[in-house]
């Protein structure tokens, strides 16, 4: 599904990713861990097509297509979804209006008709309920004044409505209380299927108790320096990153 080869990415002339390789097959769940500033969010941003990040070498292939030539919305239509580490607030655009525009844009791409207001409202309410997310949040401005945890839940709400093929979760577990973590994990788990893949960026092994990964990678200094099974996360919890950085240097 996802094939990243020798990826080098620079922002403002500064090299951030320096030869990253990663393959994710359909049906798999991967976790990416790594120290602050190592390039995890940069990887997510460059996959989603954010401006300001230049691929200087290597490639990202998603479902057999090179992402470099696609606009952010075209990537979304093909089934790529990024849950942002820091979702933006957009006062003046209601959450409901935003969600409906995204869902209808995806439907238009598939040649389907736009949803009716009533049908969409039903769907949005049901999905909110699944995340135990008060439906009042649908009426508010996108993420406007949401708490950290509420923003993360709103990302999940979008993910569940859009049903992506590849979901990239950038620290979606940060800032969640214990109950919320369980709810979010349950939400992510409903998305698991043989046709879909999930990549979670996280600092906490705790999340991996709820969403058990097939593979765990350590991103450090712009490269994947170690990959393993879920037991690697436990090892990191005990030993930190220092030993890996030394080994990689």
């Amino acid at each position: 599904m996802l094939k990243i080869r020798n990826l080098h990415v620079a922002a403002e002339g500064e090299a951030i990713l320096k030869g990253l390789d990663l393959e994710v097959a359909a049906g798999e769940v991967h976790a990416i861990m790594g120290p602050n500033g190592s390039g995890k969010s940069t990887l997510a941003a460059v996959m989603a097509g954010r401006e300001g990040y230049e691929i200087t070498e290597g490639s990202i292939e998603f479902l057999g297509e090179d992402l470099a030539g696609l606009e952010p919305e075209e990537r979304a239509w093909r089934g790529l979804f990024l849950a942002f580490q820091y979702p933006v607030e957009i006062p003046g655009v209601t959450n409901l209006e935003f969600l409906r525009a995204s869902v209808d844009a995806h439907r238009a791409y598939r040649g389907e008709e736009a949803t009716s207001a009533v049908d969409f409202m039903k769907l949005a309410r049901a999905t909110s309920k699944q995340l135990r997310f008060d439906t009042d949040f649908l009426k508010r401005g996108v993420n406007e004044g949401f708490s950290g945890g509420e923003k993360k839940r709103n990302e999940l709400l979008q993910m569940l409505l859009l049903q992506p093929k590849l979901a990239l979760l950038d620290e979606t577990d940060s800032g969640l209380d214990i109950d919320a973590l369980q709810i979010v994990a349950d939400g992510v788990n409903t998305l698991r299927s043989p046709e879909r893949a999930i990549v979670m960026i996280t600092h906490y092994q705790r999340l991996l108790d709820h969403i058990v990964p097939d593979k765990v990678h350590v991103l450090s200094g712009g490269r994947i320096v170690r990959s393993g099974g879920k037991e690697l996360a436990l090892e990191l919890e005990r030993k930190g990153y220092g030993w890996l950085e030394e080994a990689a240097a």
Partner: protein, 438 residues
């Protein structure tokens, strides 16, 4: 062969004077007085030239073209008035400055042509007409007085709740360039109220030089909505002069598009303690359109409040001007005056001139004044696009999010609901496809 601007201005003034002299004297005394004063003032007030500060950003070239002073016909064919979804109220139809259709109103509300005013209406006219729109340094207000052949009086008697009213300032179907000098006087006596929806219609090459005077009595309340939602070749100049008495309330909400030349001069006087003024403006200019708002709030009495919010979008090579002046007179202690002006450039060639002007002569006042000019937030754009919303649709959503606060402040729901699609249509008429946001 280019003709010098000064010569064109001189030629315009000469033709205007000739035109004034050719009109027959009106029979209504108040109108006769207005005409005489206007004629005299116009003769002695120079038209704005290249160095006139308050006209710095509005070049009067488009007003000087051939035919724009031609007298409007009283019987020109009436335009079709496009429905304004959901909004229905008694309608005053002024076409090329001529009052053509006036509604029947219940007791307590008088709507009459100046030329037909009698009894109490005539008294109000003699007392108020021309008392608010002062002439000093304002050649076009003078010209309106000099060339106004009739006008409309709206009078709401003491303690009468006047409901909703629509005032249409429209162009006729007379396609030849001509001038029009609509004149309207609104008087709300003490304790009365009115919701007035003022719509400007017509996109032909017509010079509409309107003057609207509004007197709000003690504890009276006027909700005034102004809609200039057609662009095109209309040359539109509108002076609005308002006085608010003790504990009176004036709420002006505007949704405006530019045109080849549009300028709104608004002066609001808080003349007695307790007056409360709110002003909103949601504006959009496209192509090479021009929209100039000259706002002036005169705080002349203590304990008054004013709150103004302007949101402007400017695209292509258009130009938006906002001059927001707040003048707090020496005795106007305990004044609270706020003005917020936020502006978004949608293109690199668009121009926005947002200029605050504070003159404060009292020491115990609260006054806040802010103006910003920016572009759409790239992070928000990316966020929407990453969810599949096309770039054009995302720009549209964010632009309207920016205007939403002002549009939401329209006090009538029916008007509010019609304003948004009208602004969207204007936005999209320029190849900004609505895409998934529709």
């Amino acid at each position: 062969m280019a003709v010098k601007l000064e010569d064109r201005i001189e030629d315009f003034a000469r033709r205007a004077r000739e035109q004034t002299a050719a009109l027959t004297a009106p029979s209504a005394p108040a109108l006769a007085t207005l005409r005489q004063r206007g004629t005299e003032a116009f003769a002695t007030t120079p038209l704005p030239g290249a160095k006139t500060e308050s006209w710095k950003y509005s070049r009067i070239g488009p007003l000087l073209e051939q035919g724009l002073l031609d007298r409007p016909r009283e019987d020109a064919p009436l335009p079709e008035v496009p429905a304004f979804a959901g909004f229905e109220a008694p309608r005053i139809l002024v076409v090329d400055g001529w009052p053509r259709q006036l509604p029947e109103m219940p007791a307590g509300i008088t709507i009459t042509r100046f030329s037909a005013a009698e009894g109490a209406g005539a008294e109000v006219l003699s007392r108020e007409l021309g008392s608010l729109a002062y002439l000093d340094g304002r050649p076009f207000v003078a010209l309106n007085g000099a060339l106004a052949e009739d006008g409309v009086l709206i009078h709401v008697a003491k303690n009468v709740q006047g409901g909703e009213l629509e005032l249409l300032l429209a162009q006729s179907l007379n396609a030849a360039p001509h001038g029009a000098h609509p004149r309207v006087l609104v008087v709300l006596e003490a304790g009365s109220s009115l919701s007035l929806v003022e719509r400007h219609l017509g996109q032909a090459q017509v010079f509409t030089n309107a003057v609207i005077e509004v007197r709000i009595g003690a504890a009276a309340h006027l909700a005034h909505m102004r809609l200039q939602l057609e662009a095109g070749a209309a040359r539109s100049l509108t002076a609005l002069d308002v006085a608010v008495a003790r504990d009176g309330r004036y709420d002006l909400q505007q949704a405006l598009l530019g045109s080849i030349f549009r300028r709104n001069e608004i002066r609001i006087h808080c003349t007695e303690p307790g007056a409360e003024v709110t002003v909103g403006g949601a504006t959009l200019t496209r192509d090479r359109n021009h929209l100039d708002t000259q706002m002036c709030l005169e705080h002349e009495a203590p304990h008054c409040t004013s709150n103004q919010v302007f949101r402007a979008l400017a695209g292509e090579r258009s130009k938006t001007v906002l001059n927001g002046r707040i003048h707090i007179h020496p005795n106007a202690q305990k004044t609270s005056a706020e003005l917020s002006s936020r502006n978004l450039l949608l293109s690199h060639d668009a121009e926005i001139d947002a200029k605050p002007e504070l003159e404060i002569y009292a020491d115990d006042v609260k006054c806040a004044h802010g103006a910003t000019i920016g572009r759409l937030d790239e992070k928000s754009l990316f966020y929407l696009r990453s969810r599949g919303v096309t770039e054009d649709a995302a720009r549209l959503m964010l632009s309207f999010a920016f205007l939403a606060g002002v549009v939401d402040a329209f006090p009538l729901e029916t008007v509010r609901d019609a304003v948004r699609p009208a602004l969207e249509a204007a936005f999209m008429a320029h190849g900004m496809a609505p895409g998934a946001a529709a």
